[in-house]
């Protein structure tokens, strides 16, 4: 490695935000043709480091080198001009524009008088889309795509320029397995062309599948760099969180109670049809399926956000109508939604207020909000979920993605619901917290809660569920118990093959 020069080298980077030292002398380099993983717990500083590289944040100290040359990234434009492509953790798309315009955002091909060269644009885009093997075309409006497909549009941006370095910040957070395969092909192609790739992810299996080296950050500090081939999950985890992780599968089995929630022949227009299932108290039911399978829509219906066109919902045997989330909450249902920033949090509000929002009417001292009670609720769940924040006064918008997610989970746990629905609960969450959350879900069930877990990660559903509902295209294909389920049968069911019913 001594004679090959790194494409990129960051040295001793320091970055502080008010009250937070997000990066504390971090060094990091990427070789040409290398896939270099950047790992660390939520809030460790991964995204911040990459934003410094991408010119979005200016570092308070340290230097960036490209090849031999020391560079200053004054802004995204400059970073891009230097061949650095950034695939963001949070979707960074203009929904009203077409796929083509989004992929070439900021560098639309021009003709005379500043006109857009539509023909070239479309041709180039189609070529890229073909490589990505997606079902939409250059003219599709991005807002009409599913989240996963929008992520594919982001990824397509990596292929537009002759990149020297590409940064993927949790690109797979909302992708399903099929799309991941495509993504990994893209990465392999880039790698062959000698591009240096930085890959941020919390998913160990991916890291071990595609990366060459792993750099670990903890609390903004550099922990070390490992050769992927010479290490293992346990070692990486240890470096990340400073302790070992208990990864035992689906630990406690306990007595199940009555049926807490039952759904019979539920349909909602064309979103999903004739869905039936039940959850007992004390049980965790996993919902697994491909993108667009309709799981989120079912959850939204159960939370009073959609009106079903047919079917019945029974809570503890009683037929109920849920007209609003307030209704659902009153009847003991909680939903941790899929889109944390859009649906889960008021970003400009502080941590405490976000967490107690659904119960603010009940936390009263006279006519006023009982702030002391709020703070103790916050403290309790901060400790329980290990939320990293300078204090309850911090604006949620300033927390790292994973810690934000924990605030949402804490918010709903503190409601002590009888039915808890979690939609992609660990999207963007580090391994340590992830296993905490899994344990939490199991222990909640053990305490008698009925839990529904929607997830696009097979290990996750397998790990936490007592039973698994496999969905395909708005229909329930099959329900597995944890004893009978195998990876193969599950994949078959969610692909519309070999289920009980025809699709």
């Amino acid at each position: 490695m001594s004679h090959v020069k790194p494409v990129l080298h960051l040295e001793d980077i320091v970055k502080t935000f008010p009250g937070v030292r997000a990066l504390d002398g971090v060094s990091f380099s990427v070789m040409p043709g290398e896939v270099h993983a950047l790992m660390g717990e939520n809030g460790a500083g991964k995204s911040t480091l990459m934003k410094v590289l991408g010119g979005i944040h200016q570092p308070d100290g340290g230097a960036i080198f490209m090849g031999e040359e020391r560079v200053v990234m004054s802004g995204p434009l400059e970073a891009k001009a230097k061949g650095i492509v950034f695939i963001h953790q949070e979707l960074s798309l203009a929904e009203e524009l077409s796929v083509a315009e989004n992929i070439y955002l900021g560098e639309l091909p021009r003709k005379s008088f500043g006109r857009v060269d539509w023909v070239t644009l479309r041709e180039k885009t189609d070529a890229i889309l073909k490589k990505l093997n997606v079902a939409f075309n250059a003219r599709t409006r991005v807002g009409d795509l599913s989240i996963a497909n929008q992520q594919m549009v982001e990824i397509a941006r990596a292929l537009t320029v002759d990149a020297k370095a590409v940064i993927f910040d949790e690109p797979t957070a909302s992708l399903t397995d099929a799309e991941k395969v495509v993504l990994f092909d893209v990465i392999a192609d880039l790698q062959r062309e000698g591009v240096g790739i930085t890959y941020i992810s919390h998913r160990m299996e991916e890291i071990f599948k595609i990366t060459d080296r792993i750099t670990v950050l903890r609390d903004g500090q550099y922990q070390g760099t490992l050769e992927t081939a010479e290490t293992n999950e346990e070692a990486v985890t240890q470096l990340m969180i400073g302790r070992k992780l208990d990864l035992s599968r689906n630990p406690s089995h306990h007595e199940l109670g009555e049926i807490a929630l039952e759904v019979r022949g539920l349909s909602c227009g064309s979103l999903y049809e004739d869905v039936s299932f039940h959850v007992r108290s004390g049980e965790v039911v996993g919902f697994y399926g491909l993108v667009g399978a309709g799981r989120t829509e079912i959850a939204e219906t159960l939370f009073g956000l959609r009106t079903p066109s047919h079917g019945t919902i029974l809570l503890e045997g009683e037929d109920v109508r849920l007209n609003s989330p307030a209704d659902a909450i009153a009847k003991g249902i909680s939903l941790v939604p899929e889109d944390r920033k859009g649906q889960g949090l008021v970003l400009g509000m502080n941590c405490r207020d976000n967490m107690t929002l659904p119960q603010v009417d009940d936390l009263k001292a006279g006519p006023f909000v009982a702030e002391g009670a709020e703070i103790s609720i916050f403290d309790q769940y901060r400790d329980r979920l290990d939320i990293r924040t300078p204090g309850w006064k911090q604006k949620v918008g300033n927390l790292s993605g994973g810690n934000q997610q924990k605030i949402v989970i804490g918010k709903w746990l503190s409601m002590k619901p009888s039915v808890l629905i979690v939609d992609e609960p660990t999207r963007g969450i580090d391994v340590g917290s992830k296993s905490e959350i899994h344990k939490l879900l199991r222990s909640l069930a053990a305490q008698g809660y009925a839990v529904i877990v929607i997830s696009s990660e097979m290990p996750e559903v397998l790990h936490v569920s007592d039973r698994i509902v496999a969905m395909y295209s708005g229909r329930v294909m099959r329900t597995f118990t944890s004893e009978e389920v195998t990876e193969d049968s599950l994949i078959q069911a969610i692909s519309g093959l070999g289920g009980d019913k025809a699709a």
Binding site: L305, S324, A326, G342, D353, V360, V369
Partner: protein, 324 residues
């Protein structure tokens, strides 16, 4: 550690920036004209700001909930005309509740359109600005409305009375500010207003009844307008159909000066009060300096931009915006 504490000083400054600006302002004008800070003048400014101020309190709720209210000016004309008309017809004791009821109906209508039907508040209240003006003209037949017996009515107490030497409009403004300030800062409802304005979708996902919250904000706004109309009517015991015309923008300017964000979710009653006072004292100060009225326009322009700019500059820790 040093940087952190310096930042804290910075953010203290940012939080109190509007107060500091206010203080500088008052000192400047006082140096220019000694009468500026005389008790008489201060009372007179605060008293005439009270009407604008009371309306600004309500609009603060609307703005924090993420909406606008451009109808308050013409609604205030409506309340004033109605209460004056009813004063002679059914007596002040009934006229006042009747006027409140009618004004609240208008507020409820807007609240229904914006809250429940989710129509855009800028356009809805713009439409209502015009429609209520039409309504007022129809109601009054376009005539001035004057109380017949101006000397003999106790109705004048709201606009012209005083308790312990403090004019009632000032007392009403400040006590309403205190009350609404508590509601906004300390009650569950206030919390919901911030949540709905900060992220309406997330608020809904948290079980907050967004429509009802927005609706209530418009009711509060209309209630404030009714109080303003009451003070106005009582102050001159007679009125034209256009008393409130144009006030909507002044009110909005005051709320913005106070640091409320038009995106919703940000703002406080206390700062709105400061914003109101700043506007009132600018107008008055420039008049005392004998400058033509249009200087007031130019100065207000500069003050608004400077105040909001410094406010956000302090928050982001940089004077110039990072926009490339």
């Amino acid at each position: 550690m040093v940087t952190v504490s310096r930042r804290e000083i910075g953010s203290m400054l940012a939080k109190q920036g509007i107060l500091i600006a206010f203080a500088l302002f008052m000192i400047g004008f006082t140096l220019a004209n000694a009468k500026f800070l005389s008790v008489d003048n201060v009372f007179s400014v605060v008293r005439s700001s009270a009407i604008l101020g009371v309306m600004a309190l309500g609009v603060t709720f609307v703005v924090i909930s993420g909406n606008l209210d451009l109808s308050v000016g013409s609604m205030m004309s409506f309340s004033t005309i109605v209460v004056l008309d009813l004063h002679d017809k059914i007596g002040p004791a009934l006229a006042i509740p009747a006027m409140f009821a009618m004004t609240l109906c208008l507020g409820a209508f807007i609240g229904f359109l914006v809250g429940y039907l989710r129509l855009n508040s800028l356009i809805v209240t713009l439409g209502m600005l015009s429609a209520i003006h039409g309504l007022t003209l129809t109601y009054s037949g376009g005539q001035n409305m004057d109380i017949a017996d101006k000397e003999g009515t106790w109705f004048s107490v709201f606009g012209q009375g005083a308790i312990l030497g403090v004019p009632t409009p000032i007392l009403m403004f400040l006590s309403l500010a205190a009350l609404l300030g508590l509601v906004l800062a300390k009650t569950p409802f206030g919390r919901k207003v911030y949540a709905v304005g900060g992220n309406g979708t997330a608020a809904t996902f948290s079980g907050i009844k967004r429509a009802r919250t927005v609706f209530t904000c418009y009711l509060i706004s209309a209630g404030c307008v009714a109080v303003a109309g009451l003070i106005q009517a009582s102050r001159s015991l007679g009125s034209q159909n256009t008393v409130g015309q144009g006030l909507e923008l002044e009110v909005l300017a005051a709320v913005i000066l106070g640091g409320a964000s038009l995106m919703g979710g940000v703002g406080t009653i206390f700062k709105t009060v400061i914003g109101v006072l700043i506007l009132g004292f600018i107008q008055n100060g420039l008049l005392l300096l004998g400058l033509p009225f249009y200087f007031q326009f130019v100065v207000t322009w500069i003050i608004i931009i400077l105040a909001v700019w410094l406010d956000i500059a302090a928050k982001r820790g940089k004077l110039w915006s990072p926009i490339a």
